[in-house]
Symmetry: C2
């Protein structure tokens, strides 16, 4: 192999046929770059992301004997990590299809679209573009005999020309390298600054060429689902989205059970790791897809319920479940993302939106911020239906909130054919002429389950069409779709076909969904009663949650989940948790506003309210025990049955 030293080798990449001439010893990753081939590589050639796999067809190469990132089967088939493989002779290499940009972004971008609609308005009206983290292209005049300002002060002056930053701070490591970096491009530099409380921190100073790209990730940390959006901070556009189930599901369906699990097994670290792993996975997936270096992601901003934020940062969550239900922290200061194990730029920041109380998290605050109910003269209700159902009632003068443990039924969890809003999920459903079921799936693919909006439709349509009674019981109508399945009595929504399984809703599913809606309605009633609010006082009801692309809010009235007000006054606002996180990410003013709102909201503890259970029981009928509360639902039902 001595002879190969410094030899010129030709590397040919299949199927494109592109070639590169390189010296022996060059890595395949480098060779691919020279040939103009894009290979995924998140770690930048460090050999730990395992993304740059290629297959050697023929020729000599040197690769590390074994890597945990390659299976023994892959090794047998000459799959190698391009960054860890050196060219020793002419080579032919196959680039697997996985490297090409994936286009199956069916959901690209449900939430993002909703956001751009909302945030468009929000930004125009309330917040101007002034992100928490920025990469500035700073140009300074070099020092002279008459201007011997120190480098550090010179940099501050340049930053302050572009940014309102009365109080600034610089990390020690940045200071140590500052003089060298500034001189690299004769006092032109790429400067990353981030807001930390009232201080603007110089997070990174890099050569001028690094000025161009700056990305951040907004994350909604749901108990059941974790959603992430990748935002180009220079354009304020959402460039990609990704979602996954929360891996903590393995430790309990709701977060109270997870806290108990962590306490009993002292596995807080494990719960943190599993959540951080989800976040990292989402970030990496989007980064690969968009060909973005993790170093160019300089911030992550999270909204979520209080327990999730505690798990993410490994703060003590144990008091959340114990009277008097106290969080370790409501407003969490920004920290270095790396401190929590979140893999972005190693000096990048991790922000969390402030929460209001142990059971009113920053996801709710995000909703208040996004819908702008805190700015309105008239009263609004904000309802977020996730694993819990949180309600906010108020206007610009006051805001009152409560949390009902609705359960994750409307997130598709604990429901036989439930699923989160993704390709193949039934997102809307109608029963035509009291018989034929018509539905639409996300991505228009074959139905594989039902997401929140579909479940709401199903419950409403079963009720309106008399398939279930007011208690939710499936009626023995002789309909052949009503059968006794493995999970008890069930009603078939979609017959099995072409190897796809049957989709059905069981009696237990229906009971679950009714419990959820009853919990939410009871909470709304308590808040309205305690503030003497009548349905006609409500200007708008905003409904948030990961239901799907849209929600037929009128059906939420039919089943008695929401008060009976005209459909025009109801608005489905999608995932406001992530929308709020993005709003804050893009505006320092919005963060200040969020903190002010968090301080001013009044939390109403339903558990200690004797009327709550009473209201809950009354709400367990469809639409409600007191039908006078739902005049329009009564009419609709009459029409359907006529």
């Amino acid at each position: 192999m001595k002879d190969n030293k410094n030899k010129e080798c030709t590397v040919r990449f299949e199927p494109s046929g592109l070639k590169a001439e390189v010296s022996s010893g060059t890595t395949l990753l480098e060779a691919a770059h020279r040939a103009g081939i894009y290979l995924s590589s998140i770690c930048g050639g460090e050999g730990y992301c395992g993304k740059c796999k290629v297959i050697i067809n023929q020729g000599q190469f040197y690769s590390r004997p074994s890597s945990p990132l390659l299976t023994s089967e892959e090794t047998r088939e000459k799959v190698v990590l391009a960054c860890q493989t050196k060219v020793l002779s002419d080579l032919t290499v196959t680039v697997p299809k996985s490297h090409s940009l994936e286009t199956s972004q069916v959901l690209m971008d449900t939430d993002a679209r909703v956001f751009s609609r909302l945030a468009g308005k929000t930004q125009e009206r309330l917040f101007e573009y002034d992100p928490l983290i920025r990469k500035l292209c700073a140009e300074m005049s070099p020092p002279t005999v008459v201007d011997h300002t120190a480098d550090h002060e010179r940099l501050y002056a340049a930053i302050r020309k572009q940014l309102d930053a009365p109080i600034m701070q610089t990390g020690f490591r940045i200071l140590q390298k500052l003089s060298k970096v500034l001189r690299e491009d004769n006092y032109k530099a790429a400067v990353t600054v981030g807001q930390r409380g009232g201080t603007t921190e110089v997070i990174e100073v890099e050569p001028w060429r690094r000025c161009k790209t700056n990305f951040a990730v907004a994350v909604d940390l749901g108990t059941t689902t974790v959603v992430a959006h990748l935002i180009d901070l220079t354009t304020a556009k959402t460039v990609d989205t990704e979602a996954t189930y929360n891996s903590q599901m393995n430790f309990g369906e709701d977060y109270i059970r997870r806290i108990i699990y962590a306490e009993q097994t002292n596995s807080f670290d494990q719960l943190q790791e599993s959540l951080v792993h989800d976040v990292n996975d989402l970030i990496m997936t989007m980064a690969v897809r968009q060909r973005i270096d993790l170093q160019d992601i300089t911030a992550v901003i999270c909204a979520g319920n209080t327990a999730m934020i505690h798990f993410l940062l490994n703060l003590d969550p144990t008091r959340i479940r114990r009277e008097p239900y106290v969080a370790s922290a409501g407003s969490v200061p920004p920290i270095r993302a790396a401190e929590a194990g979140v893999q972005i730029n190693r000096r990048g920041l991790l922000y969390c939106l402030p929460s209001v109380a142990a059971y009113i998290g920053s996801d709710i605050l995000a909703g208040v911020l996004t819908t702008g109910i805190y700015t309105k003269e008239k009263l609004s209700i904000f309802v977020d239906i996730g694993t819990n159902g949180e309600i906010v009632l108020g206007n610009k003068d006051w805001l009152i909130c409560a949390s009902s443990s609705a359960g994750p039924a409307f997130e598709g969890s604990g429901v036989k054919c439930g699923m989160r809003a993704g390709p193949g999920a039934i997102e809307s459903l109608n029963i035509i002429n009291g018989d034929k079921i018509q539905f639409k799936t996300i991505g228009d693919s074959h139905p594989i389950g039902v997401c929140g909006s579909g479940l709401l439709d199903a419950l409403s349509e079963l009720f309106v069409n008399g398939i279930i009674d007011r208690t939710g019981r499936l009626k023995a109508t002789g309909d052949p779709r009503l059968t006794e399945g493995n999970d008890g009595l069930q009603f078939q929504l979609v017959a099995p076909q072409n190897g796809y399984r049957e989709i059905a809703i069981t009696q237990a599913d229906i009971d679950n969904l009714i419990r959820s809606k009853a919990g939410i309605f009871a909470a709304i009633r308590i808040l309205m009663n305690s503030t003497q609010t009548k349905p006609e006082d409500i200007d708008t009801i905003y409904v948030a949650g990961g239901f799907g692309n849209f929600l037929n809010v009128q059906r939420a009235v039919i089943i008695g989940m929401l008060p009976d007000i005209p459909p025009a006054k109801m608005q489905f606002v999608g995932n406001t948790s992530i929308a709020g996180a993005k709003t804050v990410l893009l505006s320092r003013k919005a963060l200040e506003t969020a903190e002010r709102i968090a301080e001013s909201m009044t939390y109403f503890d339903l558990m200690s309210n004797p009327d709550y259970m009473d209201e809950f029981v009354k709400a367990k009928l469809l639409p409600h025990t007191d039908l006078s509360l739902f005049p329009s639902a009564r009419n609709l039902k009459r029409q359907a049955l006529s």
Copy 2:
């Protein structure tokens, strides 16, 4: 040795005879504590400070086979580290004298006394007690069903009751343990808060019992000497002081040479380490003496010339010596002391006072702050005589400053019998009746050298008594004390006696001292001339420097170092560098003021001024070429010679 397990053993400590009964396996450090014996231990029994040495007289013990902290001779003599030694049988142990509190604090507290005089005034007039770092005893009411404020926000509210802290920040690690610590004493806690720029950081939250003690160290980082004062932050009193030569002397006498050395050998790390080592040594010495745990020292504040601050933090100092003479940073943000290797509380902060320019460091700013010349209507001059001579001229409206490379002669360096102001140093000297030499030493011990104030006296007295001429040349008067020594012509000040060496001043010493004084006077002249300031416009000249306990400022006029103004208008203010550091340490307002002054001072570059060399040459006679500038000196000389 199995039989020894859990056996009760008696450990007797000599010479006190105190005893402790302990189980076998107990450490000697623990046994000493039980016997009521104080053993120095900085590291808290971790085995790395080497302070808890004792001698085993008899009995069985187990000690780590070898420790780098023990010499082989010590090991032979059964010297052990008490914290690393386990009792295996009845033992007799001798506690060396070094553990008793040292009382030889001769210099306790030259500078501190000067400071308390100055700071007393300063504080009354300008700054109220409001230290940069505080340990608050925070009492919170525990959460209830009606008050479920999160722990973090509850803590902030408690802090804000005691402190003006609009913007706060909490370290991530603190946040993670917060809930646990607060519950330990039912929401009473010791909270350490430190100012970092505009933000008040919660640095530590500890159990209530830790509320009592809080110390800080102020350091003057001189090129030649490093001085440290230990301050009890709860009383604002200086409790100990310590000084040492700067170990960087090994790399060059002045800092320009050290920068060149570091560049040539790429040994910036080494220079930092050596300076940090000095600081740590001073801190540890005082901590041992005052029986203070390093954990209870929560801040270090440094003033020094710009190069020293750069060396301390390993900032790039190389541009300081190159035109246009630019520092990496003037105002250095507070960092965690541990980041720079300074060993105090592991979350404690390291502050540096801001500097003005590459050659006007924070030591000078400290002087301006301490003397209050920036507040006065009338003009003052501030002169700091250290390794360089820095001059500030101005009043409340403007401040102009310059630096002359005076050399370290008046710090006792580069002078044969020179020494820093310490026990045995001649601090004042008179020639009685033109013949007999009378002197006073610090601590009234046998003279072993001459410190700055003594050297100034010597130069002045040799001149006034005609032993040297106006050029500084030793005159061949036939005086038997005038001899040719190993270092050339010299004049004996103190004859050898009882084994103590002779103390003499050489021709080279005199030339050195004259060069220093000429540099300083020339700089003052340039600043005065450029601002059309006449001697009669000067209200006060403040003279700072580590001369000794006091300085006969009139003699500084006789030799022509300072302008000829009435003695009543001159004031020796001691080490204002450390005084300023302490002022800032004790007042957040003072730090703000210091930063404002640093920004407003105008630096005057003497090197680029063609008149400077001319003035320097004229100042090389005693007192000056132009005798009309020194009318009083002429009178004095006439008296002395009459």
